[in-house]
Symmetry: C2
Subunit: 217 residues, 2 copies
């Protein structure tokens, strides 16, 4: 990150209890560790971002277009005028789960050899941060007039949708997540402004009240 | 290397006595370690290559144009039709010396932040091998009719030139290397065929004999 001028590091649900080892290795990069934040889950980590691209070694993902790194850089550059954007990496052992990838607006895979498709975290992040740097992505990009919907707001909306749609018996209570993820993805694709996302959220608050009233009468 | 389909690894003057630690880390990549060669110096390591690009964190190098990674990829692709090409990395602590960089046809620097310009070896190699892979550079590229001059032959030529030019009192015996490197660089730039390099070598063998004869009469 320091090599390419980036500093905002958020760990989500870290297994690691101490960063002492990292401090020794982070030559001239202690500012990254000092500014590091810890989030309780990925939704929390991404809450003030308008766009997040998750990384995977899988080139096929049901229902999603897996971007090349270059395509993802293009999207990151476009989306960065709407607000904060994030690159999301999975843990060293298992990478990102389907559930984590569903929290991301887009998904990318670094094309690798079939012999060893799975890259180390340190190396995949070096490749992608290099490309970000080449793309001219800076931590302080100018933001347009209409700020994009924060993923935190979209997450709150998804939760509200889930509750309402379960009550309305639209979602299968045994497995509500798959259909919900699909709906959420369409809203992510729509590139909502923050105002529009809040409008949706208010709409579902009203719907929830109405559905609850309906159930109690 | 395994991530991007490369397998020919040559260590030059390694400090390391055992690769046991690497064997544990090289998941699905043991074929790279099994095929690894060890060379006594960089000239030996590069002897059958026609082109080598060295890596440095210095963006200014006296008398040389420092290429961007993308420019270097273009050159590697062009040169790979003449024969084997090499990417050369320095040791983790000090990078490549001037002497080592002089053994390379070209030099590249990965653009980094001024905050921390020096990259780890594992990460700079990940970035560059990713770019090689994207460039479509494969270990088995088709080679043109006229094979390029091997760096081993050019190295032998440089050594012969040095001897002759010292005897002829053209080079300063206290510091012959700088001027010699300049001459050698021009021959590298000329993209000699192997036949042309051998012609030069034979020419200098004759010159040496003539100069020695002259000195003894």
């Amino acid at each position: 990150m320091a090599n390419f001028g980036y500093s905002r590091l958020i760990l989500s649900e870290p297994v690691l209890k101490s960063i002492e080892g990292a401090e020794r290795l982070a030559v001239k990069s202690d500012f990254v560790l000092r500014g590091m934040e810890v989030a309780s889950d990925l939704g929390e980590a991404l809450k003030d971002c308008v766009y997040a691209v998750g990384t995977t070694s899988r080139t096929q993902l049901k229902g999603r277009t897996v971007l090349t790194p270059e395509e993802a850089m293009q999207r990151l550059a476009e989306e960065s005028v709407r607000g904060r954007v994030a690159l999301v990496f999975g843990g060293e052992q298992r990478g990102m789960s389907d559930e984590d990838l569903a929290r991301c607006t887009d998904v990318l895979a670094i094309p690798t050899s079939a012999v060893q498709p799975s890259m180390n975290l340190a190396q995949s992040s070096a490749v992608l941060l290099y490309l970000c740097h080449r793309q001219g992505l800076t931590p302080t990009a100018a933001v347009e007039a209409a700020p994009g919907a924060k993923l935190g707001t979209l997450g709150a909306l998804a939760k509200r949708m889930r509750d309402v749609m379960l009550r309305a018996e639209f979602l299968n209570p045994q497995a509500p997540q798959h259909v919900l993820n699909e709906l959420e993805q369409t809203l992510m694709r729509a590139r909502l402004t923050q105002r529009e996302a809040e409008l949706w959220l208010t709409a579902f608050k009203h719907l929830e009240r109405a559905v609850t009233r309906g159930a109690s009468t």
